[in-house]
């Protein structure tokens, strides 16, 4: 009976998707009936709003505005139009036949790398940029690690005529110099952050400092399913289109649901976006792969759920990499986008409830998978996404040849050419690091 209802829901979803893409994701949310977050933004014991009082009014306004916007046909129509005719949705689901031979299972790639700006980040940013305009604000700020969210924000700001400032750790501006240039070309101001570890978490701190002083005319466009409520919920709702499409495409292509869904997890927005539509499908295993760096036992990693403990950072209660005094630990990953000591609270919740399983992938494993996808499929993945690919190789061997695995290929790897060429020794002498 449940299967039959599912079948018809799928058919209905498919018929109406061209016209009401964003609304459809909402309908599916209702079908999934996921009880989180509650009205105050708690996913079980995670999430919430640990933020300065000065931001409370803005967070309340944002919560109200998001709630009315998602029920406003004009808003959803405009977002659907941008997703279809600007970002290029739906993104493809590509069967990776030669890569599958190495995974020992059938691997389907959800091609977020083909979106405009080259990653899944655009899905969230278009939504938040429209909300910014709707709230009568004229400026957006953003934090960025690899630069993908910064580029997406700069892009949406250019499109909608908003002023844009992007905070980026100084270490990341160096390892992702191409994205810095892209943001500046798009008219954004990029501010290298020189405090702390000079990576993503410090960029978040600096963006919050800006926001508390500029909140009257500025929206902080957070790039992942993190931060104080309503951000984890709102960013999830803007990203869950990934899984909604992938679910339908997988049914169309294979005649059924996948056995596993795999994604990389830093803050975790591509993973939540991919997982969410599958959460009610009990037969589908969900795997998140975190940045294992040099290996979790070395202490040089960013695998929050694998190696962290409960804490509060950047406005949310979640798992966190911290020392005995509750001081945030410095993280390491070859991937700037995963180099973050916290994780979105909904992942902590899925981890605690056991609905999703989280593991680490080392730098070396990620780079092997990076190279393998290049040479077997002619697709250059982002190093972030390569962590998901490396995870798929492991999951595939565990589940066997009859299994189908959907992997979120969250971004393309053009930005990573310098890092990859250096890693693999492909740089002409004298040009490497």
């Amino acid at each position: 009976m449940a299967g039959l209802v599912q079948y018809f829901t799928d058919r209905i979803g498919r018929f109406s998707h061209d016209r009401t893409r964003f609304l459809m994701t909402m309908d599916t949310a209702a079908r999934g009936a996921a009880p989180v977050p509650d009205g105050t933004g708690h996913f079980g014991r995670f999430g919430g709003r640990f933020a300065p009082e000065a931001l409370m009014a803005a967070l309340d306004e944002l919560t109200r505005e998001f709630d009315t916007a998602k029920h406003d046909p004009a808003f959803t129509a405009e977002l659907d139009d941008l997703l279809a005719n600007y970002a290029g949705r739906p993104s493809l689901l590509t069967e990776a036949k030669r890569f599958s031979e190495h995974a020992g299972a059938r691997v389907l790639l959800k091609r977020e790398d083909l979106n405009h700006t080259g990653s899944h980040k655009i899905n969230n940013v278009l939504g938040q940029a429209l909300l910014t305009r709707r709230m009568g604000k004229s400026r957006v700020i953003a934090e960025t690690g690899a630069g993908q969210h910064g580029v997406a924000t700069a892009t949406a700001a250019a499109l909608l005529g908003l002023t844009c400032t992007v905070y980026m750790g100084e270490v990341d501006t160096e390892r992702q110099a191409l994205n810095v240039a892209r943001m500046r070309m798009l008219g954004a101001e990029v501010i290298p952050v020189k405090t702390g570890s000079r990576t993503l978490k410090d960029a978040c701190n600096e963006a919050f400092r800006d926001w508390v002083a500029t909140v009257d005319d500025t929206h902080y466009c957070i790039g992942s399913v993190m931060g104080p409520h309503p951000f984890p919920m709102m960013v999830r709702d803007f990203q869950r289109i990934i899984g909604v499409e992938a679910r339908r495409q997988c049914v169309d292509m294979t005649g059924g649901l996948p056995d596993a869904v795999v994604a990389c997890v830093g803050g975790g927005s591509n993973a939540i976006g991919t997982f969410h539509a599958f959460v009610p499908d009990e037969s589908v295993r969900l795997y998140g792969f975190e940045a294992g760096g040099d290996g979790v036992t070395t202490g040089r990693h960013a695998a929050t759920l694998v190696g962290g403990s409960l804490g509060v950072i950047h406005g949310m209660r979640t798992y966190l990499l911290q020392d005995d005094d509750g001081q945030t630990l410095e993280t390491h990953s070859i991937s700037a986008g995963l180099d973050y000591p916290g994780v979105g609270p909904e992942h902590s919740w899925l981890h605690d409830t056991g609905r999703a399983e989280y593991r680490e992938i080392t730098d070396a494993e990620a780079m092997d998978a990076f190279s393998l996808l290049c040479r077997t499929e002619g697709i250059i993945p982002a190093i972030e996404s390569a962590h998901a690919l490396a995870g798929a190789l492991k999951v595939g061997r565990e589940l066997g040849p009859d299994a189908t695995i959907v992997v979120c290929l969250s971004g393309r790897g053009d930005k990573d050419m310098h890092t990859a060429a250096t890693f693999f020794g492909l740089m002409p002498e004298g040009e490497g690091e």
């Binding site: 105050t40 640990f50 009082e53 000065a54 002083a213």
Partner: protein, 270 residues
């Protein structure tokens, strides 16, 4: 001893209270204690000891530099309690100002117990609101500690009512929308915020002083703030004196001179 006693005493003197902030471990473990004792001797009515934290999201460059220096120097939570103990021994109420995670990680109950046994008066919690503060409300009740929450220019009347309803010791009015750090002028919205907060407190049963902080760094500003608030809170300006001093003695002299200037200020405002 509740920090409210310091506000009451100042009020009885017909002036505003002067509250000084300094992070533990800055410029060194002992240096912080010496500087805080100097602030007390020169006229501070209450002291806030900052718990240095890796991610000071609400602090501007001056406090960021100081806490970074303290953390690099190896300051631990235990040092914060030792600093509180030494400063509270001077007889002035001594609070800890901290981001929530270090307390959360220590355990709200254990932190309250150890703070109380060090003679501390309570906590100021810039990134904890009453809505998320259940564990702290319980622990502070159990150990009889002050809990100072913040109100902001952007706070609605409903929120001010909630915040003042659970605050104890005083309520911290943030004078501007922004991070910590001295500014050239007091925000024009500050008197209005204090006035709104007072009106809401007056509707309730218990009196609660309103202290104003963020951006205050000179005697003239202290006098201006003392004209409308019950207390004047100064942090970055003290740190600036220590950061800019060529040696420890000069740093303490600078802190003493600033305290005297501010103490004169809070006596001119009325």
């Amino acid at each position: 001893m509740s920090v409210q006693t310091a506000f009451d005493k100042a009020k009885a003197d017909g002036r505003a209270a002067l509250v000084g902030y300094l992070p533990a471990g800055f410029p060194s473990r002992d240096g912080a204690i010496e500087a805080a004792k100097t602030m007390v001797a020169a006229g501070c009515d209450a002291i806030e000891i900052g718990l240095p934290y890796t991610d000071p999201m609400m602090d501007g460059p001056t406090i960021q530099d100081a806490v970074h220096q303290a953390l690099v120097g190896g300051v631990r939570v235990a040092d914060v309690f030792r600093t509180v103990e030494a400063v509270a021994a001077t007889g002035v109420p001594t609070l800890v100002m901290t981001y929530w995670n270090p307390v959360d990680h220590y355990g709200a109950g254990a932190f309250a117990r150890d703070l109380a046994s060090a003679g501390g008066s309570g906590l100021i919690t810039p990134d904890l609101t009453p809505e998320e503060g259940g564990a702290w409300l319980e622990a502070s009740d159990a150990h009889g500690l002050d809990r100072v929450f913040l109100v902001a220019l952007s706070s609605t009347d409903e929120r001010i009512e909630t915040i003042t309803g659970v605050s104890r010791g005083f309520v911290y009015a943030a004078s501007l929308m922004g991070v910590t750090g001295a500014r050239s002028a007091v925000d024009t919205g500050a008197p209005r915020l204090v006035e709104r907060t007072r009106a809401i407190i007056d509707k309730g049963r218990a009196p609660l002083p309103v202290g104003l902080g963020l951006g205050v760094g000179t005697g003239a500003q202290a006098a201006e703030v003392a004209g409308f608030a019950d207390g004047v809170i100064v942090g970055s300006a003290f740190i600036r004196r220590l950061l800019d001093a060529p040696d420890a003695a000069a740093g303490l002299a600078g802190v003493r001179a600033l305290t005297e200037e501010l103490a004169a200020g809070v006596r001119q405002g009325r």
